[in-house]
């Protein structure tokens, strides 16, 4: 069962990679990278169970956090063109 899951995840990785290669808009590519990070951590988790090392699950959890923060940072960069505080006035940069 884990082998079937691994194959399915790798196929999904290929599809996400195709979307990142072909994707016409910026948001397709950002979403492809986010999806690819999710697939990578799923692959790590499944491979951990496949090789009888279930402690890889913790590593996959940390990967999920890193992936989330990276996507938020990329999108925030798009919205505000920098990561620091806003230049003056509004507090939109403190999202």
């Amino acid at each position: 069962m884990f082998i079937a899951a691994t194959i399915a995840i790798i196929i999904a990785m290929v599809l996400a990679l195709m979307r990142a290669l072909l994707g016409p808009t910026i948001y397709d590519r950002v979403l492809a990278v986010n999806l690819f990070g999710t697939k990578a951590l799923l692959l790590i988790a499944v491979m951990g169970f496949l090789t009888d090392r279930p402690e890889f699950l913790d590593i996959a959890l940390v990967y999920a956090l890193i992936n989330f923060i990276a996507t938020i940072a990329i999108m925030k960069f798009f919205r505000f063109a920098h990561l620091g505080h806003p230049h003056q006035g509004d507090n939109l940069g403190d999202l």
Binding site: M13, G37, A70
Partner: protein, 186 residues
């Protein structure tokens, strides 16, 4: 299979002219490399690759893209001679790895002499219960010191380049500088 996907991503990075897509593909490449490191049970390297390669360096390249344009210029020069040099160098490197022992071979020199010594004697020699910590902090102490000096020099260079701006007390500058240092660490 992961190597195959990495090859696809690398060809995409070379071929695509849209630099934003190239940045995204390099993030994917870093994620693939990180999962490859996890499968080689080098978990700490994988963490560094995932956070620095997929996170921080992607952001730094996006910051560069905000300054420059989004599309790469087409260049029409002849690429045959650099290709020849790269092929020869790669062949020499592969030839150099031919007489190395196989990955994880029991009769490799590192597994015969070094690792049993570390396992048996590092506890009494160094006094640190964790073998990896004692190797990193004591046996390879000069190596680690050299790395620290390199990172420190890079930090000074970045601070010299960035710190003399017109608004030097803006919080963005001091938040940008350490991330570039971490990129140099890899």
């Amino acid at each position: 299979m992961i190597l195959f996907l990495m090859a696809i991503a690398a060809f995409g990075i070379i071929k695509l002219r849209n630099l934003f897509a190239v940045v995204m593909l390099s993030g994917i490449f870093s994620l693939l490399a990180a999962s490859l490191y996890v499968h080689l049970t080098a978990v700490d390297v994988a963490f560094t690759e995932a956070s620095v390669g997929a996170g921080i360096s992607t952001l730094l390249m996006l910051a560069t893209l905000a300054i420059t344009g989004e599309y790469e210029k087409k260049h029409t020069t002849n690429n045959l001679f650099p290709l020849l040099i790269v092929v020869v160098t790669g062949a020499a490197l592969i030839y150099g790895t031919l007489d190395m022992p196989l990955y994880g071979a029991a009769n490799a020199p590192a597994n015969l002499h070094l690792i049993p010594r570390f396992i048996e004697q590092s506890g009494t020699e160094i006094g640190i219960p964790n073998i990896v910590t004692s190797v990193l902090a004591s046996y390879r102490g000069y190596d680690t010191l050299g790395e620290t000096v390199v990172i420190f020099t890079a930090a000074i260079g970045v601070l010299v380049l960035l710190g003399r701006g017109r608004n030097r007390w803006r919080p963005g500058i001091s938040a940008d500088a350490p991330s570039k240092d971490e990129e140099n660490e890899v």
